[in-house]
């Protein structure tokens, strides 16, 4: 028996109704003369109310049925890439040929069979689907997917039969099989065999340092094949090595690279396929690493020792992010020369070592009141220009009485890269009191914007260079009150330069240190250093990657948010081929959905002269890495789960182990709603009529 409509509302309703019914019934019974009459009438009324309630709640009679189901078996077939590799279309074809026979045997043994495929997970399939499968690139994750499958389906099956070559890329262990109740029978398929070459191992740093050489080691192996091949190494789509190699059983290629830009990098290695290879899918490797800067390597070249030199050196030496190499001209050719070398601690100015041999190694070069002319040919400055324009080195030029025009830099490569022209004026370097103020660009530029709140309180500078004139595309960040430029920034091709037209900046340092301050000079110089060395914070383009999106932010040259910025996007494959491109105009930010970009790939973003390449990580496919079973995996699975292990040729479904439990299926079937039966209606109305008749007979209303 079951109530079909038993709801809280109906219960409440019936309870209220019963209370009312009881009150009225009791009150109407006072005319009955005898007690037994009262009891009889009340009983009849209650019976009527109960019958009404039963009808109201739709009381029904239900019948229990019990049936027995056939035992079920799951056949799980590995359909990952390796099963399709090898002679005759791979191991999968051997299964296809005999699958009918296996199914028939299992059915005749009283088992119902469900078919599943296995690659990165176990999915339900059908015989038709399985037979129609032609190829796959997917990875095998036997252990991971078995764990998931058993969690959900364990109680449904009497056992599993797993067909696989045992090549597995799972991350989990087989621990879960100890709690598993159903036997897993494993059938070992022969692994792919044949002639093959493959990239077996690649060693490279996860993090490399900017401008510091690092090695990439590639181990190439071959089986049954040899010959001349080619190995190509790409970094962010740029071909960096293309080397001919003779492929034999094992060959190791080691290459050294130096990267000048910080950021994320995609390493792509391609090994040219040889004829007759089993597969060329294992001839490629994709990896990811980051390039960060260890320390900013700064070269400070000084024309004459001054307080400005002393305090800049103090700032640089105290800065733990800086590796400082200083050269100070302590004696010129015009000075008194008649001392023996042993009396002096001086060394010859290593102009050649600096400007020819080591110039590429510096992140920033500072010329501080330095006149280059006596120390080397102008060719040395050509090297400086080269590294600056390539974006390898930032350049800072500080003023003084032997800088700029007086330093004989007119019409030299230095004049080409700095944001000012050196001009011949009657007073190139003057003393005075020069109060500094920020220009509009300076108020928002990240180098000087912080000065806004300090600049009024800073002491005046006492020297100024007037032999400079800002170029058209330069950015003057600070002037004196008469409009003479003091801090000027600019770009030269990919490089950044800053000119400071005074040698009195030390006064800001020393005077603020005296007053327990010091933050202004150090912050200003740190910002300048970061800006010229293109610290990521000071880049015009930046990319933030979230789980689903790439957020590209673009800023103006002065690093103000860019309004209507024209930007070119290219999507490159890891070997640098253009897979797609688009030009767009954006306001500050562009959001790309990662699912719309094929990975792995490189998103190349260009705004004017600024460009960054951002690698988008793809999932690494280990399937074809090597075709060896992972440590007798199938035998262990069978052993731990209580199943049996078979070589494919020996497999017979009858020999597999399954549970012999019978599934009892219990179900309840609704037979009838009782209130609709004639007995129920007769009973209900019978009770009412008897009650009415008795009441009339005993003279009650």
């Amino acid at each position: 028996m079951k109530f079909l409509e038993i709801t809280p509302f109906k219960i409440v309703f019936l309870s209220i109704l019963f209370i009312l019914f009881f009150i009225f019934s009791v009150r109407s019974l006072h005319k009955a003369e005898k007690r037994w009459q009262k009891v009889l009438l009340m009983s009849l009324r209650c019976t009527g109310f109960i019958l009404f309630s039963a009808a109201f709640l739709r009381i029904s009679s239900l019948q229990k049925t019990v049936s027995e189901a056939k035992g079920k078996v799951a056949i799980v077939i590995d359909t990952s890439g390796s099963m399709f590799t090898g002679e005759g279309g791979g191991a999968i074809n051997q299964i296809k040929k005999r699958l009918h026979e296996f199914l028939k045997d299992l059915s005749s043994g009283g088992k119902e069979v469900d078919i599943f495929t296995l690659d990165e997970k176990i999915s339900p399939s059908t015989l038709e689907n399985l037979l129609s499968l032609e190829n796959s690139d997917r990875e095998t994750k036997i252990v991971d997917s078995l764990g998931e499958f058993l969690k959900k389906m364990e109680t449904d099956y009497d056992g599993l039969v797993l067909f696989s070559d045992g090549i597995d890329n799972s991350e989990k262990s087989l621990e879960f099989l100890k709690e598993n109740e159903i036997p897993i029978n494993t059938v070992k398929m022969p692994p792919p065999s044949g002639k093959d070459i493959w990239i077996d191992k690649v060693e490279f740093p996860v993090v490399a340092f900017k401008k510091v050489p690092f090695s990439i080691k590639v181990v190439i192996k071959s089986e049954g094949i040899s010959g001349v091949g080619r190995v190509k190494i790409y970094l962010n789509g740029d071909l960096r090595t293309n080397e001919e190699i003779y492929i034999k059983k094992e060959i190791t290629v080691v290459k050294e690279f130096t990267i000048d830009e910080e950021g994320s990098y995609i390493l792509y290695i391609a090994l040219s396929p040889l004829q007759g290879e089993l597969t060329d899918k294992n001839n490629y490797f994709t990896g990811y690493f980051r390039v960060i800067r260890d320390k900013i390597r700064v070269l400070q070249v000084v024309g004459t020792p001054t307080w400005d030199v002393r305090f800049l050196r103090r700032f640089l030496k105290k800065n733990i992010s800086v590796e400082l190499i200083s050269f100070m001209i302590l004696r010129t050719r015009d000075d008194y020369m008649f001392f023996s070398n042993n009396e002096l601690s001086l060394i010859p100015f290593p102009a050649r070592e600096i400007f020819v041999e080591a110039i590429d190694t510096f992140d920033a070069v500072i010329f501080q009141n330095f006149n280059y002319a006596p120390y080397g040919p102008v060719d040395f400055l050509v090297n400086l220009k080269r590294v600056v324009q390539k974006g390898k080195t930032g350049f800072i030029m500080l003023g003084g009485d032997r800088a700029f025009y007086k330093g004989e830099y007119s019409n030299t490569p230095v004049e080409e890269i700095v944001p000012v022209r050196f001009i011949d004026v009657p007073e190139p370097y003057v003393y005075g009191e020069f109060k500094v103020k920020l220009t509009k660009a300076g108020e928002i530029h990240p180098i000087t914007s912080f000065l806004k709140e300090f600049v009024q309180r800073l002491p005046p500078l006492h020297t100024l260079n007037l032999d400079i004139q800002p170029k058209k595309d330069s950015l003057v960040l600070a002037n004196d009150t008469k409009g003479h430029p003091v801090i000027i920034t600019g770009e030269s091709e990919k490089g950044r330069c800053v000119v400071i037209a005074t040698d009195s900046l030390w006064e800001w340092y020393f005077s603020s240190l005296l007053k327990n301050g010091g933050e202004v000079y150090t912050k200003l110089m740190q910002n300048i250093l970061n800006w010229v060395t293109e610290d990521p914070y000071f880049k015009e383009i930046s990319v933030v990657e979230t789980r689903e999106k790439l957020i590209i932010s673009v800023r103006e040259k002065n690093l103000k948010e860019c309004k209507k910025c024209k930007m070119d996007l290219k999507f490159l494959t890891p070997d640098g081929k253009i897979a797609g491109e688009k030009s767009t105009e954006i306001e500050g930010e562009l959001v790309l959905r990662k699912e719309e970009i094929p990975a792995p790939s490189i998103v190349s973003i260009q705004k004017g002269k600024s460009r960054i390449n951002y690698p988008l990580k793809g999932k690494e496919n280990l399937e074809f890495k090597n075709f060896k079973e992972k440590g007798k995996l199938l035998e262990r699975i069978a052993d731990l789960s209580g199943g049996r292990y078979f070589e494919f040729e020996q497999f017979k479904p009858q020999k597999a182990k399954f549970l012999s439990r019978k599934n009892r299926m219990e179900s309840w079937k609704e037979v009838k709603e009782m209130w609709t039966s004639s007995v129920f209606i007769f009973l209900f109305f019978g009770v009412i009529m008897i009650e009415w008749t008795l009441r009339r007979k005993w003279g009650m209303r």
Binding site: G303, T304, P305, T306, W307, D308, V309, R310, F311, R313, R314, K317, I325, S326, F327, M328, I329, L330, R331, T332, D334, D335, Y336, F339, N341, N342, E343, L344, S345, L346, I347, P350, G400, D401, Y431, G432, E433, H462, T463, D503, S504, W506, E507, F510, S511, L513, L514, N516, G518
Partner: protein, 221 residues
């Protein structure tokens, strides 16, 4: 020749054309007190030699003042000398001296007395010890960078000067010497040491940079 003309113009014809006390160039700044010894001629000669021998450019006119003068306080190099007069810094002066030295300033304290234990020598050491601790004055080893900032001093020569110093932040921030300036015009090594100390005030530990070490080691016997 070019240099000689420059020195002539700087020292005799134009004089000090910088009207402001604060300059990026080296200026001889001397602490003035009642009973001090200006020794202007000696200073001028040392500066002449400094300019003649090195690439350092100087403000020709020395500045005499004390810590009440704003410009005096803004000079990173301060020379203090005396003979028979004791030195006593006031509390405000003491605060400013500590602030000046910790900000990077260098003090050269030079005893001009011929005698051991002059009132100046005893009092000035006591004053600085009261600022930096009772055992803060230590002998400068002959390997100190001061003996190699320009001229290279062989160890036995360096030892003869018996220089002492108070070290702040790893550098000699107060140097104690005897008769350095007054002998600088007469004795070769005194002049050289004074030039080294001036060079040290401008370049600090530059000569300790790795690049110089092989050369210096080779030249030291």
């Amino acid at each position: 020749m070019k240099k000689f003309l420059k020195i002539l113009v700087t020292f005799f014809l134009l004089g000090n054309y910088n009207l402001f006390a604060v300059s990026p160039r080296f200026r001889w700044v001397q602490y003035r007190y009642e009973g001090d010894l200006p020794m202007r001629d000696a200073v001028k000669q040392v500066l002449w030699e400094l300019v003649r021998i090195t690439s350092v450019e100087v403000e020709e006119e020395p500045l005499y003042g004390n810590l009440d003068d704003e410009e005096f306080f803004l000079s990173p190099f301060i020379y203090l000398t005396g003979r028979n007069v004791s030195i006593n810094f006031g509390p405000e002066e003491k605060r400013k001296i500590i602030s000046h030295i910790t900000a990077g300033g260098l003090w050269l304290v030079d005893d001009s007395s011929e005698n051991q234990g002059s009132p100046f020598w005893i009092s000035v050491r006591k004053e600085f010890e009261s600022l930096f601790g009772p055992w803060s004055i230590k002998p400068l080893p002959e390997s100190d960078v001061i003996f190699r900032t320009f001229f290279l001093f062989q160890p036995e020569v360096a030892r003869k000067f018996e220089l002492e110093g108070i070290f702040v932040d790893g550098r000699a921030a107060v140097i104690f010497s005897k008769n350095l300036l007054q002998n600088a015009t007469k004795r070769k090594y005194h002049l050289r040491l004074l030039i080294n100390i001036i060079m040290y005030s401008l370049t600090t530990d530059y000569k300790l940079d790795q690049i110089h070490q092989p050369f210096i080691k080779k030249r030291l016997r």
